[in-house]
Structure formats: structure tokens, C-alpha cells
Amino acid sequence: MREFDLAAEPVRALNAALHALPPDTNETHWRVANPQGKHAIAVGLDAPIEIQIDGHAGYYCGGMNKSATITVAGNAGVGVAENMMSGSVRIKGDASQSAGATGQGGLLVIEGNASARCGISMKGIDIVVKGNIGPMSAFMAQAGNLVVFGDAGEALGDSLYEARLFVRGKVASLGADCIEKPMAAEDRAALNAVLTRAGLEDVAPDEFKFYGSARTLYHFHVDNAGRY
């Protein structure tokens, strides 16, 4: 286990050390102490390592992650795991806005709540939020699965493309072109797979409602003018 103290060394030194790891490194376990809400902690990683961050992280923690498994034992700031490619990021506390924004792959688990724009423009990432999510979440979400155990704020899934949204609680309102749909077998399978990966198998898929794109905005059309 490698220990790194962000009270003693800058974030730059941490990221430089992490970037220098070869893919077959045997320094696979890292612990970061005193993150103190600093920004860009453990960004751009590209090695199958495990990192535990003991405290609160600032903006963009785990940004563009590939392969690494990152755990934040605290809250995370704006854009946690933004544009993640693979691997996983788990937040024990709450996450700020734009959690998992534009993520292309991997798994983001937020054990608390996530603020506005969770999963905005997601492109294949799977996101599980055990609490509630804020407004404008999954805006223009393109692909991947967003699973919310609690409630969703206003304008969920506005201008949605092909991402799947599963919400167990209440949805304040749906955004343009986002509708509730019956959960087909493949949607249920996708939900099950995400829950399994997240290690949250004690919840039944049937408790969730499923939302997706009505696909009416896929082509510019005069009769949709009011919704653009």
C-alpha cells in the first residue's frame, strides 16, 4: 500500500506518480490522505490500480479515468469521474453537479445524493445514485444507464438520446422528449447488470420506473418547433 499525503505534497506530485505507473505495476494499492477538497485528484489514470481517497475531493476527481478503481471516502465536487472511459469510481458521500458528465464507460456509484446535471451528456457510462439526483440530470444523455434509488429533480432526461434512466422514487418532471416506457426484457437485464456490478443486488428491478427517449426530436420538423 502506497500512502500519499496531500497535506505534504501537491496534487501534481500525486498525478505524476500515478501517471508514471506501467500497466503491469505491482504498486496496485494507494491511499491518499488529506485531500482537503483539492481539485483534479487522480485524473487521467490508465492503470488497473485501487485508490482510496480519505476525505472530501474537489472538482473533477477521477476525471477521464481508465481502468483504475477509485473510492472517495467523503464527498466529491463538480464533475466527479467526468468522461470516464472504464474502471470505477465510488463516492461514499454526496456528489456535486455534473457527476459522471460525458462518461464513455466504467461505473460511477454515488452512495449519497448527486446534485444537478448528474449524467449530463453521458455516452456509455453506468451511474448508480443511492440517494436523490438534482434537476437537468441526464440532459442530452446519449448512452449508458443511470440508476437512481431516490428521487429525480426537474427536467429529467431533457433532449435524451439512447441512454436508459431508471428511477425508484419520484420524478419532479420530465424534460423534452423524455418519456416513461415499459421496461422490456433487455432494459431489465441492463438494470440488473448495473446493480450487480455495483454490488447492490438487494434491490428489485421492478421497484424502478424506466424512462427513455420518445425520439420525436431526432429529426427537425415543423410540428416540433415549440420544443426546440
Binding site: V11, N15, A40, G79, T102, S121, Y218
Partner: protein, 441 residues
């Protein structure tokens, strides 16, 4: 028969035939007009400026013998690896998707031959363009289509696109005809749908956040790459100052004449400033921060000739970027293809339905048969020739003004031909010492 004299049929200047045709088109379709290119109306531009040259009070350099440098170093503020260009002209960001594969390859070949850079666009980086561009700038756009840390690390510089001159405040658009299987896969979108990309970045909102975003990109790439911030000409003084405050190495400023692949005509023609009016405020912001020439300024929007390049540099830019002119150099809108343009209901030089993807020159298309019409080697050669002419022309002017480097051109070398241009560019009207307009910022 009635011999009473009659007036000739007369068109209204307000309701001219173009306007009438647009009203009819709107009435028939119910949707705004979408097109490619930049503002087509006549705007105050570099043509409204003149160099005064040298005589007794200033001493010229020999046209063909004395050295006149054209090199530009970009990203000297924070980047460990700044970019060295041989010429002060770069190729602007244009996406694979908007442009065909052969067109992107040709841009890379031409730029590389001349020692300058090309730029990706709203759709990610292709292996072809990385392969053919010695210096490649990777755009980070609101849509983040194809955004990928590996490509970020492969890039020579990173450009955060906040806006474009053709549509400051607008997002991208790529209509279904151009969403081929490859384009769709790169953008993670279904094939054939009309794609609207976002106008706001998904993970930051104001300048304070942008600063942290830039820090993240630097951390991911170990502080190696220059980071550009591109804005449409909107509030250039404040936007430049905020880009600098956010930590940009380079500011890219694009005026309303700047091309777009597809945008609403109303947006192109009515939002944003002509580049002529935007350069001085941006330079002023840099000067006030003590960072002129330390944070480099690249300007674009309607650059056509070496005179335009020289004028932009004299107003304080470090380099220019070209989009439309580069596409013309590749072979776009060529009268040799007039029959094809006529079939599309247009004429060579006016063709702007780039969003439909039927470009007979094989440039703004994803149709494999049309794309195959463009020979990337020959087109790349034409672009290199054109870039060479732009550079030679700018040098010719710089030497005539007595400058041993194009960056030594200065506002004192210029006068304005019109009151408007004088006010916008902060230059005296020719033959006077009158600079119209009030205090600037």
C-alpha cells in the same frame, strides 16, 4: 394601345428578391434556413484598412533579400511543450463529420508541408488526421463527442471551444444525411438522426470553473500541452480577460464572417461581431494584463489573403486561422464543377448547403463516392501552395513597412478607409489624425 409612359418594375431594397425567396421558403417549410459558411452580408472588414508603407520617415526592407521572420511560438505561458509554427497561419477546427476523411487528410498534408497545425472539431480525432498532421490541436467542445484521454495525450495542443464567430452562444448541428455509420459511432449517436450538440459545457459554467477545468486538463496531460480557449467575437475585451484569468496559454478569437458547417442563417448573419471590431479590444485586454505576446492571440473569420494576415497581425494578433479559404484551396465551390452545382440548384461560389452532405467537390460530405472525388495528395498540395502565398504576401507587406518579422507590424502601420472601420479598429481615417469612437473599455 396605351402609350402612357410607365416606370420600370422596381424591386424594394428592403424586400429584395433574396428576402422574398426566404419568406416563401419559410412559409413553405416552417423551419429556419440552415446552411454552412459564414456571414454573407457585406461587413466592415480588413479591406477597409490600408498599410501606409515606408518612405522617408520609415525605412523599408529589400523585398527579396532581407530576412522577414514568420515563425510563431504558441503556448509559452504554462505549457512544457509550446508549439512552434513556421508560418502565422493555422488551419481552424473543422470536424470529421462536417468534412470527409480525404478533406481532413488533405488539410493535414497541406499544413504539415508548410510547418503549421491543423485542428480537430466537433466529432473527435481520427487516426488519419493524427497521422497526416505533424501538429494537431485537439478540440474540447461542449458535446465532448469522441472525447478520449488517449487522444488528449496524442494531441500537440488542446483547444477548449466556448464558441464560434458564426454562432456565439450556439451549439453544433450535424444533420442526419451526414451521420454515417462511422460518424455515428465516433459520436455515440444513432445513425441518420439530426444531431444537435450542446452550446454549454457539461461540467463547468463560469470562468471560475473554467480555471479548474483547465487545471484538470493540464493535470491529465502532465502540463505538457498548450491550452487554447476559443471564443466567438461577442464581448472580446471581457472574454479575452476571462480566458486569460482562467489560465489559457492561447486565446482564439473568431469573428462573424467565420465559417460553420451548419447553423441557422439567422444566427450566422445577426449574432456576433465582425473580426475587424474584435481584435483591438482583445489585444487591449492582453496589454492591460501585461500578457500581450505572452498569451498568444489567434484570430479568424474571413481571412483570405496575405494582406488580411498582415492586417490582423498589425492589429496585435500573433497568428490567424483559416477555415473557408482552406476549403476553397482544397477545391470547394470550384467553377469546374458548375454542372454539379447547377443540379443542386445553386452555382459555384454560392454553394452553402454543406449540411446536406452532397458536396460535389467531396469536401463537406460523408458520401463515400463523393468523398472519393477529392484526391488528398493533390488537394493537400494546393493548400500548401495557398498557405505559401499567404505567407509571402504577408512578408511582402511587412518588408514594405520596414519590419524584419511579421510580428513587428503594428497599428501605426495602418490607416482606415472608412469612418466605420476607423472606429472599429481604433485607427485614424486615412489622411487625418482622427480616430472616431469613444474611450475603449
Amino acid at each position: 394601345m396605351d402609350q402612357t409612359p410607365r416606370t420600370l418594375p422596381r424591386f424594394s431594397a428592403t424586400f429584395d428578391p433574396g428576402t422574398l425567396s426566404e419568406i416563401r421558403r419559410a412559409a413553405a417549410t416552417g423551419i429556419y434556413d440552415i446552411r454552412g459558411g459564414g456571414a454573407k452580408r457585406k461587413l466592415p472588414h480588413f479591406d477597409d484598412l490600408l498599410f501606409v508603407g515606408a518612405s522617408i520617415s520609415r525605412y523599408p526592407l529589400e523585398g527579396y533579400r532581407e530576412k522577414c521572420g514568420t515563425d510563431v511560438l504558441l503556448g509559452t505561458r504554462f505549457a512544457k511543450k509550446p508549439i512552434a509554427l513556421k508560418i502565422p497561419v493555422t488551419i481552424a477546427g473543422m470536424s470529421f463529420g462536417a468534412l470527409s476523411g480525404p478533406a481532413k487528410e488533405a488539410l493535414g498534408r497541406g499544413a504539415t508541408a508548410m510547418g503549421t497545425s491543423t485542428t480537430t472539431g466537433d466529432g473527435g480525432m481520427t487516426a488519419e488526421e493524427r497521422g497526416h498532421s505533424n501538429l494537431l490541436v485537439y478540440q474540447v467542445l461542449p458535446s465532448r463527442y469522441g472525447m478520449n484521454p488517449d487522444d488528449l495525450r496524442k494531441a500537440d495542443a488542446i483547444e477548449i471551444v466556448i464558441g464560434q464567430g458564426a454562432k456565439p452562444g450556439g451549439g453544433g448541428m450535424l444533420l442526419g444525411q451526414k451521420i454515417s455509420p462511422r460518424v455515428a459511432a465516433m459520436r455515440t449517436l444513432p445513425e441518420g438522426i439530426d444531431q444537435r450538440s450542446a452550446c454549454r459545457h457539461p461540467d463547468w459554467t463560469g470562468p471560475d470553473d473554467l480555471e479548474i477545468k483547465i487545471e484538470e486538463l493540464r493535470e491529465i496531460t502532465d502540463w505538457e500541452k498548450p491550452i487554447y480557449v476559443k471564443v466567438g467575437a461577442s464581448r472580446p475585451y471581457y472574454d479575452t480577460a476571462l480566458a486569460v484569468k482562467s489560465g489559457a496559454d492561447v486565446v482564439v478569437l473568431d469573428g462573424m464572417q467565420g465559417g460553420t458547417a451548419a447553423t441557422q442563417d439567422v444566427f450566422i448573419e445577426h449574432v456576433g461581431l465582425p473580426i475587424l471590431s474584435a481584435i483591438r479590444p482583445a489585444v487591449k485586454a492582453l496589454q492591460e494584463l501585461g500578457l500581450h505576446r505572452k498569451v498568444q492571440l489567434i484570430v479568424s473569420g474571413g481571412i483570405r489573403s496575405g494582406a488580411d494576415v498582415a492586417k490582423a497581425l498589425a492589429l496585435g494578433a500573433d497568428a490567424v486561422a483559416i477555415g473557408t479559404a482552406a476549403l476553397v484551396a482544397l477545391g470547394g465551390n470550384d467553377p469546374a464543377l458548375e454542372d454539379d452545382y447547377a443540379k443542386l440548384g445553386t452555382t459555384a461560389g454560392a454553394y452553402d448547403d454543406w449540411h446536406e452532405g452532397r458536396d460535389p467537390a467531396g469536401i463537406t460530405t460523408q458520401d463515400p463516392l463523393l468523398a472519393a472525388r477529392l484526391d488528398p495528395v493533390a488537394a493537400g498540395r494546393r493548400l500548401a501552395n495557398y498557405l505559401s502565398v499567404l505567407t509571402l504576401e504577408a512578408q511582402t507587406i511587412a518588408r514594405a513597412c520596414g519590419k524584419s518579422h511579421v510580428h513587428n507590424l503594428e497599428p501605426e502601420d495602418l490607416v482606415a478607409l472608412t469612418v466605420e472601420a476607423a472606429a472599429m479598429a481604433g485607427l485614424p481615417l486615412a489622411g487625418t489624425d482622427w480616430i472616431p469612437g469613444g474611450a475603449r473599455y
